[in-house]
C-alpha cells in the first residue's frame, strides 16, 4: 500500500525528531494509532539515508501485526528490515535460536494453561508434604473437595505465573526456602519447573521470562540492539513488567529510539500484571521520553464519540464526516433483546451499505462489518440460540476466542493431535500419558516415546484407529512437511469408510478435521513452503490468536477486541453486575471496567446499539429483575 494521508497532528508525530529519540504517544481511541505506527515505520525505512538497520514493531495481537504489514506492503525488503509481530512471537524466535543459552538441548515446546495445571496436579500429588495441602481430608463431600482442589490449583498456578511475570531469577537447585517462601512454596515452584524442563517444555510465562534471561547476556542484547535501531510499541498501556523489561534489556543504556503508542483509557489487561504506569511513568523516566498527546478520534462517528465522551471525557468530539448513530435500548428480556439484534443485523445486511443524508460517501456493509460485543460470553446465549435457528445467519457468525486453539472433540483427533506433539517433542511425557489413557494401552507402561507405539504398527490394511494413527504419525515423522497430505488422506479415508461406529463421534471427527484443515491453511498462508513443518505448525497453534477476517459476523467479548473496528456494533447485556462485573468492587477494578466499556464503545465506526434486558433468567431457572449499567445510567 502506498503512503497514507495523515492529519496535521498525526504527521507531526510520524516525523517527530526525524525518527530519533524516545517518544510516548498517548493516543485516544480511533485517533489512528495503527496509522501513526505504520507511517512512522515507513518513514524510517524509506526516508532515512542510512538503510542498514531494522525496525522492531511489537504489538499485542497477530491481527494488529498483520494489519501493520498490510499497510507497509511495497517497501523494499520489508521482511528483512522490520520485525512486525506480537511480543510472544518475538520472544519465541529469540528462544528458538538461543535455547542453548538457557540450558536447553533443543528448543523448548509450549505447554498451555491446561497442561500447566495438569503438571501442577502431578506436583501436588507426588510430594508428600504438598499432598497435605491438596488432599482436604476433612471435606466429606467429593464435590466440595473437588471444588477446593480446583481453587488450590488455580491459586498455585496464579502464584507461579505471578512470579514468572516478575522475571524471577533461577532458583538454585538446593535452595529449600527461597526468599522466605517456606519449603512448600519453594518445592512447588521448583518441581513444577523441573517437570516442564524434563519434558523440554515451557509455559506461556516462560516465553517472556526465558527471552529476558537470554537478553541479559550483554553479547546477545548487543546483536538485537544493533539490529533493531528503532523500536515501536503498540498498545503500550498494556505493557507488563516482563514486557517492559525485555524492551529495556534490548535497549541497554544507549539505545533511546523507542516510540510507544498507547491509550491509558483503554488499559484492560490488568489481570496479567500490566499497567499503564510502564508507559506513562517508568518509560518517561528511564528513557527521558517526550510525551505527545493526540485526542482526535478519526474512527467513530459523532454520535458514537459523544457517547464515549460521556463515559470517559477525552477532550471533546472531533470532526468526523459522519453523524452516526448511538442508541441505548431496554428490552423485556434476553429473548426480545436477541430478536431486536437479529432484525437490525438483517436490516443492515439487506441494505448493504451505510450512508447519510447530505453525504456522498457510501460505506458497504456485510457480515464482516458487524460485531456483537458483550462483557462476558454468557450474554450471547439467547442470541446464539436464535442465530442457530436462522437459516440465513446460521453459518455466518463466529464466536471470537482469545486463542484460536485446536481443541478436538473426537477421540480420534484427540489422539492424533497428542501424537503430533510427541512427534515434535519426544520428551513430552504429559501428552504421551494422555494418549495412553485414551487408547487404554494394555500391559506394562511403555517408555516415553512414540517409537514404542510405532512398534505396534503393522503395515496391513486393517484400518483400526490406532493403526491409522500410527501410519500417519510414521509418515509425518519421516516427512515433517506433509501434514497437508496427511489431512488429505484422512479426508479420503473418511469418505470411504466410517472410522467410528457412533454417529456422534463420526460427526465430531469430520468437524475436527475441518477445523484442523482451516488452521493448517492459515498456517500455510503465513509460512514459506520451506518452513511448513509440523514443529512450526505446533508453535503456530500454541501462539495463534488471529482469525481470518472472513465474511462472518463477529461475536466477541470486550477483552478480545482491542484494535479492531466495525461499522456496526451491538453492545449487549448492559446490565449492572454484568458490566461492570459484579466482582469489580475496588476503585481500581471499577476504573478498569470503565476502560473496558470505553474500548467497547469506540470499536464502532458508524452505528452503535447498546441494549439490555430488564429481566434475566438465572442459572437456577428463576427470572430476576435487572437494572441498567451504572456507567450508562446518567447518559440515558
Amino acid at each position: 500500500m502506498s503512503k497514507a494521508i495523515l492529519s496535521k497532528e498525526q504527521e507531526v508525530i510520524v516525523l517527530f525528531n526525524e525518527g530519533e529519540g524516545a517518544v510516548l504517544v498517548e493516543a485516544a481511541a480511533g485517533s489512528g494509532k495503527t496509522r501513526i505506527l505504520a507511517e512512522r515505520v515507513r518513514y524510517l525505512l524509506t526516508e532515512k539515508k542510512d538503510k542498514f538497520f531494522s525496525v522492531l514493531c511489537l504489538t499485542f495481537t497477530n491481527k494488529a501485526a498483520e494489519e501493520m504489514k498490510d499497510r507497509l506492503v511495497g517497501i523494499p525488503k520489508l521482511s528483512e528490515r522490520a520485525f512486525i509481530g506480537n511480543f510472544h512471537e518475538f520472544c519465541l524466535a529469540i528462544i528458538r535460536s538461543r535455547y542453548a543459552d538457557i540450558g536447553f538441548a533443543s528448543p523448548p515446546h509450549i505447554f498451555d494453561q491446561n497442561d500447566g495445571k495438569k503438571i501442577l496436579e502431578e506436583v501436588l500429588l507426588s510430594n508428600p508434604i504438598l499432598k497435605e495441602i491438596y488432599s482436604f481430608p476433612n471435606e466429606e463431600s467429593v464435590e466440595e473437595r473437588n471444588k477446593k482442589q480446583r481453587a488450590k490449583l488455580f491459586e498455585c498456578a496464579d502464584f507461579i505465573s505471578t512470579q514468572k511475570r516478575q522475571l524471577i531469577e533461577m532458583i538454585p537447585e538446593f535452595e529449600t526456602n527461597y526468599k522466605n517462601w517456606n519449603e512448600k512454596t519453594t518445592l512447588l515452584f521448583q518441581d513444577y519447573n523441573r517437570r516442564l524442563r524434563e519434558q523440554n517444555a515451557m509455559d506461556y510465562d516462560d516465553i517472556l521470562l526465558y527471552a529476558h534471561r537470554i537478553l541479559l547476556k550483554t553479547s546477545v542484547a548487543n546483536i538485537y540492539r544493533r539490529t533493531y535501531q528503532y523500536i515501536l510499541i503498540d498498545e503500550a498501556q498494556d505493557l507488563n513488567y516482563a514486557q517492559y523489561n525485555i524492551i529495556k534489556a534490548i535497549c541497554g543504556a544507549e539505545h533511546k529510539n523507542v516510540l510507544m503508542v498507547g491509550d491509558p483509557k483503554q488499559a484492560i489487561y490488568g489481570f496479567n500484571g500490566s499497567s499503564p504506569e510502564f508507559m506513562q511513568k517508568i518509560f518517561l523516566e528511564d528513557f527521558c521520553a517526550v510525551r505527545k498527546v493526540i485526542n482526535k478520534n478519526y474512527r467513530s462517528s459523532k454520535a458514537v464519540l459523544s457517547l464515549a465522551e460521556k463515559i470517559q471525557p477525552n477532550g471533546g468530539v472531533g470532526s468526523n464526516f459522519f453523524e452516526g448513530l448511538a442508541e441505548i435500548t431496554a428490552f423485556e428480556n434476553e429473548q426480545s433483546e436477541a430478536e431486536f439484534i437479529i432484525s437490525k443485523i438483517k436490516y443492515w445486511l439487506s441494505k448493504g451499505f451505510y450512508q447519510e443524508a447530505n453525504n456522498e460517501i457510501k460505506e458497504p456493509i456485510s457480515f464482516k462489518n458487524i460485531a456483537v460485543l458483550g462483557r462476558n460470553k454468557f450474554v450471547f446465549s439467547s442470541l446464539i440460540k436464535l442465530l442457530e435457528e436462522d437459516s440465513d445467519l446460521k453459518n455466518r457468525y463466529y464466536l471470537k476466542k482469545g486463542l484460536e486453539k485446536f481443541e478436538p472433540e473426537s477421540d480420534f483427533f484427540k489422539i492424533f493431535d497428542l501424537g503430533t506433539r510427541i512427534l515434535v517433542n519426544p520428551k513430552d511425557n504429559l501428552h504421551f500419558r494422555q494418549i495412553e489413557d485414551l487408547i487404554k494401552l494394555q500391559g506394562p507402561k511403555k517408555s516415553n516415546n512414540l517409537e514404542s507405539l510405532l512398534t505396534f504398527y503393522q503395515d496391513d490394511n486393517d484400518i483400526t484407529d490406532l493403526n491409522l494413527h500410527l501410519k500417519f504419525w510414521n509418515h509425518l515423522k519421516n516427512n515433517p512437511k506433509s501434514l497437508g497430505w496427511v489431512l488429505e488422506q484422512f479426508n479420503q479415508v473418511l469418505k470411504s469408510e466410517s472410522i467410528s461406529s457412533s454417529e456422534v463421534e463420526s460427526k465430531q471427527i469430520s468437524f475436527d478435521l475441518k477445523q484442523l484443515e482451516k488452521l493448517w491453511k492459515s498456517f500455510v498462508r503465513k509460512e514459506s513452503p520451506d518452513n511448513q513443518t509440523l514443529t512450526n505448525f505446533r508453535y503456530f497453534l500454541a501462539l495463534n490468536n488471529s482469525k481470518e477476517n472472513k465474511e462472518e459476523i463477529t461475536l466477541a467479548t470486550v477483552h478480545t477486541t482491542k484494535g479492531l473496528e466495525f461499522e456496526i456494533v451491538f453492545l449487549i447485556g448492559m446490565n449492572d453486575g454484568v458490566f461492570p462485573d459484579y466482582r469489580a468492587k475496588t476503585v481500581a477494578a471499577l476504573k478498569e471496567e470503565k476502560n473496558n466499556l470505553y474500548v467497547a464503545v469506540t470499536r464502532a465506526k458508524r452505528a452503535l446499539y447498546i441494549t439490555y434486558p430488564n429481566m434475566r433468567k438465572m442459572p437456577w431457572g428463576t427470572e430476576k429483575e435487572q437494572s441498567i449499567s451504572r456507567f450508562l445510567k446518567d447518559i440515558n
Partner: protein, 642 residues
C-alpha cells in the same frame, strides 16, 4: 572487507567424508589429483555460487567397496551436509568481536556469539530420496563446535546469498569465449556500458565514421551500390539497405567489443592471436573487475541513501596457473591477493604455492577412500596463553596453590606448542621453500639430513638405486643445516601429513639430539624412520669407511689438479691445530686416513658431488645403510626400482 567465511565443514560429499577446513582471506589448496580440492570448491559453490552447480546422487560419498555411509539409524546415509561460518573481521582479515552495522542488518538476528565473539553459521542439507535432485534445507547454528542447530529452518538464506556471492572460475576459462557470452563476467560488464552525456555526439560520430569509411573505399562503395538493388525489390519506405563497417546502433557497440593486448614492442594483437595463458589470465582479471565494479555501484547507492544489498565476493579459482609462465604465475598470485573479498585457489603450481604464506596453505591428502585436509599451525596463540597463565601465578604471589592451579594447564599447553611452528621455524621453512622454488609443498616424502655433502651426494646415490631422480618420485631432499635444525621440517611434515625420513650423522651426541626432536614433534619415535650412520661417523667418514678410499683420492687429485694431492695436504697441515685443543696428527697409516677425511670435510662443496659420481661410475655397491634407507622409502611410497 569486514567479514570472512572462516570455516567450512563438508560431510558425505564425494571424497570429503567429513572435513572441517579453516579459510583465510586467501587460501591455497594443494594436494594430489583427486584429493578433494575441486570438491571443496564445488561444495561452497553449491551453497553460495552465483551460478550454483547442482549436487546430485552421484556426489554421495561411497567407500572403496561402493558402500554408503551409515547414518544414526543404521540406514545408508543419503544426506550431504555443507556448513559455513561467517565471522566479522578487521581490514586484515583478523577476527573481531562484532559485525559492523551494515553486515548486522544484512545477516539479521541469527547472529550468535561464542565467547562473546559473533558469528553466523549456516548448514545446508541435501537430502536424496528416490529422485536424483535433492531436497535442500537450511539451518542456523546455535553452536558451531557442538553442531547445535536451530530447529527452525532458516528462512533468510536468500538474503545472505544476495550479499555474499561466490564466483567460481573453473579451469576452462578463456577471455575469447567470455567476450562472446552475455552471461560471462565480461559480457555482464560490457552490457552495462554507459556512454555518459555524449550519447548523441557519439551517434553522430559513428554515422560519420561509417560514411567516411564507405566513401573512401572503392570496394565498399561498390558493394553498397550492388546491395541497393534490394531496395528496388522490396519497396521499402525507410532508409533501405545500408552498409555499416562499424556498429550502427549504440546498444550493439559492445557486442563486437574486443580486447587487444600489446606485448612490449610488438604490435597490439587481438586476443584471438594470443596464447591460452594470456586469455585465461585475462578472464580471471575480468572476474575481479566485475566484482569491484559491483562494489563501486553499491557504494554509490549507499552514498545516495538508496536501498541496496552489499557484496562480499568469494572467488574460487581452479588452477589459475594454467598455460602461464612461472614468472607470470608469481605475479598472478599477487594480483589475486589484491582482489576484493575472499579467494580460494586450488593449484598444482609450486610458483603460486611458494608465494603464499604458510598459514594460507591447505594440504589435501587421501587417506584410504576419504580426504584429509591439513594445515600448518603456529605456536603464537599457545605461547600467549602460557604467558597469561604465568602472569596469573605471579599475580597470585607465586604460592604453591597458584602453581598447583595453573601448572597442569601450562605443561599441557607447552606440549602442544612444541609440536607447532615457531617464528624461527617459519624462517627456516620459508628459506627452504624459496630455495627449492616451492617444490617442498608438493612433496610426497621428505628426506632430511644435516649438511651439504649429503645434499650433493644423495641425489646421485638415489638415482643409482632407483634409476630416477628424487623429484620424479616426489621425494624432496632437505639439508637442514646442523643436527639441531630438524624441528621445523618435522613439524611441517607432520602438519601436512607428508612422510619423512632422516639420515643422520652418528658423531657425538647427534643421535640423541635428533631423537629428542622427533619425540617432541611426533611423540612416537617410530613415526619417523631414522637412519644413523654407523661407527659414530659423519657423512664424509662414512663414505671413506664404506670402501670408497680410491674414488675419494681420485677426485681429490682431480679437483686440486695435482697428483697425490693428499701428500701435499698432509705436508702443509700436519701438526697444525684442527680446532681448539686438537692438533692434527697425520702420521702413519691411520694418520693418512684421518687426513683424507679432514680434507673432505674441509672441501665439502667441491668434493661431494664429484665423489658421488665417481662412486656411481665405479660400479661398486652402495653402502648398506643407504640401501636400507632407500628400501624403507620405496616400501612406504610403493616405489618401483628400475
Amino acid at each position: 572487507m569486514n567479514i570472512l567465511i572462516d570455516k567450512i565443514r563438508v560431510k558425505n560429499l564425494r571424497a570429503l567424508k567429513d572435513v572441517e577446513i579453516n579459510l583465510k582471506t586467501i587460501t591455497i589448496l594443494v594436494g594430489a589429483n583427486n584429493s578433494g580440492k575441486t570438491t571443496l570448491l564445488r561444495a561452497l559453490n553449491s551453497v553460495l555460487g552465483i551460478t550454483r552447480n547442482q549436487i546430485n546422487q552421484d556426489d554421495l560419498f561411497i567407500d572403496k567397496d561402493g558402500i554408503f555411509l551409515i547414518d544414526k539409524e543404521g540406514k545408508p546415509s543419503k544426506e550431504i551436509i555443507i556448513d559455513i561460518r561467517i565471522i566479522p573481521t578487521d581490514e586484515n582479515g583478523d577476527r573481531i568481536a562484532n559485525f559492523d552495522l551494515k553486515w548486522s542488518s544484512k545477516l539479521g538476528t541469527g547472529i550468535q556469539t561464542d565467547n562473546d565473539k559473533e558469528f553466523l553459521a549456516i548448514r545446508t542439507k541435501y537430502n536424496f530420496g528416490i529422485e536424483d535432485t535433492p531436497v535442500t534445507s537450511f539451518f542456523h547454528f546455535a553452536n558451531w563446535e557442538n553442531e547445535q542447530l536451530n530447529a527452525e529452518e532458516f528462512k533468510g538464506f536468500n538474503q545472505i546469498r544476495n550479499n555474499i556471492k561466490m564466483y567460481f572460475i573453473d579451469a576452462q576459462r578463456d577471455i575469447l569465449e567470455d567476450s562472446k557470452q552475455r552471461t560471462s563476467f565480461f559480457g555482464k560488464l560490457v552490457s552495462q556500458l554507459d556512454y555518459g552525456d555524449n550519447l548523441e555526439g557519439l551517434k553522430g560520430q559513428i554515422a560519420e565514421l561509417n560514411k567516411e569509411a564507405i566513401d573512401k573505399s572503392e570496394v565498399l562503395k561498390h558493394l553498397k551500390e550492388e546491395l541497393e538493388k534490394l531496395n528496388q525489390t522490396t519497396q521499402t519506405q525507410g532508409e533501405g539497405v545500408s552498409l555499416n563497417p562499424f556498429p550502427k546502433k549504440i546498444s550493439d557497440l559492445h557486442k563486437g567489443m574486443k580486447v587487444y593486448f600489446q606485448d612490449s614492442k610488438s604490435d597490439s594483437f587481438s586476443m584471438e592471436n594470443h596464447g591460452m595463458g594470456t586469455r585465461s589470465w585475462a578472464s580471471i582479471i575480468t572476474a575481479g573487475a566485475f566484482s569491484s565494479w559491483q562494489v563501486k555501484q553499491i557504494d554509490k547507492k549507499i552514498e545516495k541513501g538508496e536501498e541496496t544489498d552489499l557484496l562480499f565476493p568469494i572467488f574460487a579459482l581452479e588452477e589459475p596457473e594454467a598455460h602461464l609462465h612461472p614468472n607470470a604465475q608469481r605475479t598472478l598470485y599477487k594480483q589475486l591477493k589484491g582482489f576484493k573479498g575472499q579467494k580460494i585457489v586450488s593449484t598444482h603450481s609450486p610458483y603460486i604455492a611458494g608465494q603464499a604464506e604458510l598459514e594460507e596453505l591447505r594440504h589435501f591428502y587421501k587417506d584410504g577412500d576419504s580426504s584429509v585436509v591439513s594445515e600448518i599451525l603456529f605456536d603464537n596463540y599457545d605461547r600467549e596463553k602460557i604467558k597469561q597463565l604465568d602472569g596469573s601465578i605471579k599475580s597470585e604471589g607465586k604460592t604453591p596453590e597458584a602453581y598447583r592451579k595453573y601448572n597442569p594447564e601450562i605443561i599441557e599447553l607447552k606440549k602442544i606448542a612444541d609440536t607447532k611452528l615457531t617464528d624461527n621455524d617459519r624462517r627456516d621453512l620459508v628459506r627452504e621453500i624459496f630455495l627449492n622454488k616451492g617444490e617442498l609443498l608438493f612433496s610426497k616424502a621428505l628426506l632430511l639430513f644435516e649438511g651439504p655433502t649429503e645434499e650433493a651426494a644423495l641425489p646421485i646415490f638415489y638415482q643409482k638405486h632407483f634409476g630416477r631422480r628424487p623429484y620424479e618420485d616426489g621425494v624432496t631432499l632437505v639439508s637442514v643445516n646442523g643436527n639441531k635444525n630438524y624441528s621445523p621440517f618435522l613439524k611441517f611434515s607432520k602438519f601436512l601429513k607428508i612422510p619423512v625420513f632422516i639420515l643422520s650423522d652418528g658423531d657425538g651426541t647427534t643421535e640423541k639430539e635428533v631423537i629428542n626432536q622427533i619425540k617432541k614433534v611426533y611423540t612416537e619415535l617410530e613415526s619417523v624412520p631414522l637412519f644413523v650412520l654407523p661407527n659414530n661417523a659423519d657423512f664424509e667418514q662414512f663414505l671413506f669407511e664404506s670402501g670408497f678410499k680410491d674414488e675419494i683420492l681420485v677426485i681429490m687429485d682431480k679437483v686440486k689438479n695435482v697428483e697425490n694431492s693428499i701428500n701435499e695436504y698432509i705436508r702443509s697441515l700436519n701438526r697444525q691445530e684442527l680446532k681448539k685443543g686438537e692438533i692434527r696428527d697425520y702420521n702413519g697409516e691411520e694418520g693418512i686416513n684421518r687426513a683424507i677425511v679432514d680434507c673432505m670435510r674441509g672441501n665439502k662443496t667441491d668434493f661431494a658431488e664429484e665423489i658421488a659420481l665417481q662412486i656411481d661410475e665405479s660400479g661398486k655397491e652402495l653402502p648398506t645403510k643407504l640401501v636400507e634407507l632407500f628400501n624403507k622409502i620405496s616400501e612406504q611410497l610403493y616405489l618401483k626400482i628400475e
